[in-house]
């Protein structure tokens, strides 16, 4: 059953008072205990201090966080601004601003510069933020075919299967299997587009949402149509205010054009890394602390409000209209977005065929692999590597994650970067299971002391592996990989 969500009710009552919390709990039909647990979980319901914050991402850490922190009151979690780093966030009353290169812009209008995007299929060379622009570039054909009955759910699922599309959020699960499992379930069913991108080093979803909202929406509606969803939710990171506004406008334009095949709405995320984990995401939508659920049952059986739910990454959904446009072309050169930042001449978003060697990807962004100390591949849940011949593909030796590539030149202190990642995990651990909050705290202490004891790191790994969700399970990858990179150097 759909009920009014607790989070939107609390959002409408910011800044919160005790009466406001009690009222939100009453309207949502939940206990005051549940509402208070929620208030004490999400940072935006706590005290947000005014002032200037450094966006703490791997690039800022590589530049030397000490001097960048001057004139700030602290750090802010990564915001997909790595290509523009160092970046700052300024909080003034209810307003928030992004500061890059000496210029400040409110969250409400700030978007990544369009010039950061380099591609063809998933990243059209012109912005497609109006219905006309999107249609002029060949968009909406699949959606129109679905409306007329020329494209059936089964044909759509078959095309996605033949394309071999794997989820682009990091888990690389076959998309058609997820969609089919939900389609088989009993109605009502839901489709959720996961736009909670918070992995350090990644900004592909942010860019897609900000500049190509119709592409994402067409993909989400097609997927929703394929599974017979009674509603499509766009779960978008709360900080991406301009994207949220653009998506709402795009939903309106599609509705006017009679193309909103499934009722669609935007849900503002809880604003934490863990909200990207699909079951934690669902918990936050249901008005609880975004803590991962025990699996099974999986969301495809029991998802939102216990109903079959497909949670799909934004880039995965954007791929669906492209696949339907031409399966052959898709399979010849399967495009994947890579967020490339750090020590390269032209940091930005690059659409490259899967299988492109890491070194070539770096050269596309004006980097010189020979001159690099290492690359962080995949983000915080990623690895340091010097294997520049490594083909950027799923199910290889190294994890691609969502496609983050952060390059570090000879002068960079990789332990300082690692400390940033360790700090990130410790801050973002939800604390539900035991190995993760304990292990990420221990890990930060070890990294700060620059401990290179392989036995200890192996025991750290064995224990974090037993965590409840992917956050804890991957928290040690970067640490262990840095020891490997150092050993090989």
């Amino acid at each position: 059953m759909e009920k009014p969500g607790l989070l939107p009710l609390l959002d409408a009552r910011l800044p919160l008072t005790e009466e406001g919390v009690a009222e939100a709990a009453r309207l949502a039909g939940v206990s005051l205990a549940q509402a208070w647990g929620v208030v004490r979980y999400y940072p935006r319901y706590g005290e947000v201090r005014e002032g200037r914050y450094l966006v703490d991402d791997p690039v800022a850490r590589a530049r030397g966080i000490g001097s960048l922190l001057e004139g700030t009151v602290g750090t802010h979690p990564p915001l997909g601004l790595e290509a523009l780093a160092p970046a700052y966030v300024r909080v003034e009353g209810e307003e928030r601003w992004v500061e890059v290169g000496g210029r400040a812009e409110p969250f409400a209008t700030f978007r990544l510069p369009f010039a950061l995007g380099h591609g063809r299929k998933l990243l059209p060379p012109e912005p497609t933020d109006t219905l006309e622009a999107y249609r002029a570039q060949g968009g909406l054909r699949a959606l129109e075919a679905a409306r007329k009955g020329d494209l059936t759910p089964e044909a759509l699922l078959k095309a996605v299967e033949e394309a071999g599309l794997l989820g682009r959020g990091g888990a690389a699960f076959p998309t058609h299997l997820k969609l089919r499992a939900v389609a088989r379930g009993e109605a009502p069913r839901y489709l959720v587009a996961n736009g909670d991108e918070s992995e350090p080093g990644n900004f592909k979803d942010r860019f897609l949402l900000e500049h190509h909202p119709f592409l994402v929406l067409e993909g989400a509606l097609l997927a929703g149509f394929a599974v017979g969803a009674s509603r499509v939710y766009l779960y978008i990171r709360e900080e991406f205010q301009a994207a949220i506004r653009g998506l709402k406008e795009a939903i309106g334009a599609l509705e006017e054009a009679g193309l909103l095949l499934v009722p669609t709405e935007v849900f503002q995320s809880g604003g934490l890394y863990i909200c990207g984990e699909e079951t934690a995401l669902l918990e936050s939508m249901e008005g609880r602390r975004a803590e991962p659920r025990l699996k099974p049952p999986f969301p495809v059986e029991k998802g939102l409000w216990g109903r079959p739910t497909a949670v799909q990454n934004v880039e995965t959904l954007a791929a669906i209209p492209r696949i339907l446009e031409g399966l052959e072309a898709w399979r010849r050169e399967e495009p994947k977005l890579f967020s490339i930042s750090g020590d390269v001449a032209a940091p930005g978003l690059y659409e490259l065929p899967l299988g492109t060697p890491l070194g070539e990807a770096l050269r596309r962004a004006g980097g010189e692999p020979e001159g690099l100390k290492a690359v962080l591949l995949g983000g915080a849940a990623g690895v340091f590597t010097r294997d520049f011949a490594f083909p950027l593909r799923y199910r290889e030796r190294l994890p691609l994650g969502a496609g983050a590539v952060v390059a570090f030149g000879e002068g960079v202190d990789l332990w300082a970067v690692l400390e940033g990642l360790a700090h990130f995990f410790q801050e973002e651990s939800c604390g539900k299971c035991f190995p993760c909050p304990l292990g990420t705290t221990v890990q930060l202490a070890l990294v700060q002391r620059r401990v290179r004891d392989a036995r200890l790191v192996e025991d750290l790994a064995s224990t974090l592996k037993g965590s409840l969700c992917g956050l804890g399970q991957s928290a040690y990858w970067a640490y262990r990989s840095l020891l490997e990179v150092e050993g090989a150097a």
């Binding site: 005790e18 919390v21 206990s31 005051l32 205990a33 549940q34 509402a35 208070w36 647990g37 004490r40 979980y41 934490l272 602390r289 025990l294 410790q426 801050e427 973002e428 651990s429 939800c430 604390g431 539900k432 299971c433 035991f434 190995p435 993760c436 909050p437 304990l438 292990g439 990420t440 705290t441 221990v442 202490a445 070890l446 002391r449 401990v451 200890l456 192996e458 025991d459 750290l460 064995s462 224990t463 592996k465 037993g466 965590s467 409840l468």
Partner: protein, 198 residues
């Protein structure tokens, strides 16, 4: 139903928890509160994946390992981390387990923890001493969906800072608490303990 546990064929009834079939330590699991799957001390390897024995049902043809080198490292390390960060002085079972696993917490060096938390004495019946709390949630579940349905307890914070609290952080007498004592009963660490001996 047949399955293989530590290399031996076994018979199990439909719906049996793996916990009934293997010898593994537990901490968070409590049948009355339905708390499970959090501490990960009871993890076993099921068909190559780590699964909590307290939250996994036996299935036909399963292959379960309960004592691999990886699992031993995990249990020992977890105990070490708990000892480092939490006051376990009133948890004799955990101390015995640490001894049995030959835990050496000192090898990790200094780690910030929760030992510095001050005890809360806000009612005449029991103390809430969260320096001893491992955040197993049994008390929260006991007060809520698990037993009472009263909802006088919830959680605050995230990560290692997370621990139980009351709605609006009020003293317990100002909450729906009926002082039934169920939370105290299920607390495995002495973090919740009676103020007067009965």
């Amino acid at each position: 139903m047949r399955l293989k546990v530590d290399g031996k064929e076994m018979e199990a009834r439909e719906g049996a928890l793996l916990l009934e079939l293997v010898q593994v330590p537990t901490l968070c699991h409590h049948p009355h509160t339905e708390t499970r799957g959090l501490c990960r001390l009871c993890l076993v390897e099921v068909d190559g994946r780590l699964s909590p024995a307290c939250a996994t049902e036996a299935r036909e043809g399963m292959e379960v390992w309960s004592d691999t080198p990886g699992l031993r490292a995990l249990r020992k390390t977890l105990l070490e981390w708990l000892l480092l960060t939490t006051d376990l002085s009133l948890a004799p079972e955990l101390q015995a387990l640490a001894l049995a696993l030959e835990a050496e917490p000192g090898r990790w060096g200094e780690v910030p923890g929760r030992k510095g938390r001050e005890a809360i004495e806000d009612n005449p019946f029991f103390l809430r001493d969260y320096a001893k709390c491992v955040n197993c949630r049994r008390c929260v579940d006991a007060c809520g969906d698990g037993i009472m349905g009263v909802y006088a307890l919830t959680l605050t914070g995230r990560g290692l800072l997370a621990h139980p609290t009351t709605p609006l952080d009020r003293p317990l007498p100002e909450t729906p608490c009926v002082f039934c004592g169920n939370c105290v009963q299920v607390c495995p660490t002495g973090a919740l303990r009676p103020l007067t001996e009965v």
